[in-house]
Symmetry: C2
Subunit: 208 residues, 2 copies
């Protein structure tokens, strides 16, 4: 069922000021409403949902607007949830400019093999991960296989719970699944990681 | 042992162009070297290490320079590793502008209680996490306690391995521990998460 919504209601229900919504319309981030003459247009629930998604990407995931546009453009065209996740990743993680060391690339390949994971040839993740390992190693703290494995097992288990929750949601959009699963859960995970670190560090401080 | 290093060598060994290093000196991100007249100065290994740290924060953690400065300023003054971790967190995660819902705050408190974790009163994490949960719920996908618990257990176990690795590193600096543990491992974890998601999603696609 499509329920008509005027601009004022769109603003009230999305929590965004009218000028911001008009800016998103001009920039093509929000599709136009149904025009009713030169100065009036009618919107529906899909506009409201898209505004909430843009707002979450800007405020929670802290993406720049050009990145928001690129992600939404890409995943809008995806034909399946799986494809949408792949496109969202590719738009977000460009391969780093510097080429990673052979040693770090071997460490990544080792992790993939131990976890039984595969990557498509064009995936940016292998280079990105190896480059991140290089940066830490250059500071004198090489990342060991045991930490990579700890992250691998942790994220493998989390991915199953993440997919279960997304599939149980009210909504059916592949776009939203990809964006929420990839981006909006990141701040949740990272904040929980920080809380876990403070508590682990505190426990060690008092144990010594 | 302090080994003298000239600007050209600083550039070569850090991989950063001379003008970039001079910019960091002018901006106060890099402490000045030992002046030998109007146009020459001598640096040492601590300058090189600081440059590598700045480079990693900019290129890998993708922080803006003003954030890099704030993090380094804060953690340089910390008196222990534990305090440095707390300061690094506080400089990075400002409390969100919008106040989180009571429901999400209760979900965060529930997680803390189940995990046996505590937060200091001034910590921004409780509001940040609840606000991130609100954003996802507003899109029709409430985050369940089972996903919070999955993240909590995963990050609690990872924190122990992270602390072990940092304590085994060559270096002794509390600054570097805090920055690497908090920031530079984030891209490693998030990239592994994306690889895990693609593989879990792919496995479900073929299982149906």
């Amino acid at each position: 069922m499509i329920v008509a919504v005027w601009m004022a209601e769109l603003s009230e229900r999305s929590g965004l000021p009218v000028p911001t919504i008009k800016f998103y319309l001009r920039e093509g981030l929000l599709p136009p409403g149904e025009s009713l003459g030169a100065t009036r247009a009618r919107y529906d629930e899909t506009h409201l949902q898209r505004l909430r998604l843009i707002r979450a990407l800007v405020e929670v995931a802290q993406l720049r607007l050009d990145v928001v546009r690129s992600v939404l453009d890409g995943v809008d065209r995806a034909r399946s949830r799986h494809e949408a996740i792949g496109i969202a990743h590719a738009r977000l993680s460009s391969a780093p400019e510097t080429v990673a060391s052979e040693q770090s690339l071997r460490a990544v390949d080792g992790l993939l093999e131990r976890m039984g994971w595969q990557l498509m040839a064009q995936s940016p993740h292998r280079q990105s991960l190896a480059r991140a390992l290089d940066a830490i190693a250059s500071l004198g703290y090489p990342v060991g296989d045991d930490l990579l494995d700890a992250y691998g097992h942790a994220m493998g288990e989390a991915a199953e719970v993440e997919l279960d929750q997304l599939e149980a949601g009210d909504r059916e959009s592949a776009v939203e699944h990809a964006v929420i699963g990839t981006l909006l859960l990141e701040p949740v995970l990272l904040t929980i990681r920080r809380i876990a670190q403070v508590n682990a560090s505190h426990a060690r401080l008092w144990a010594t």
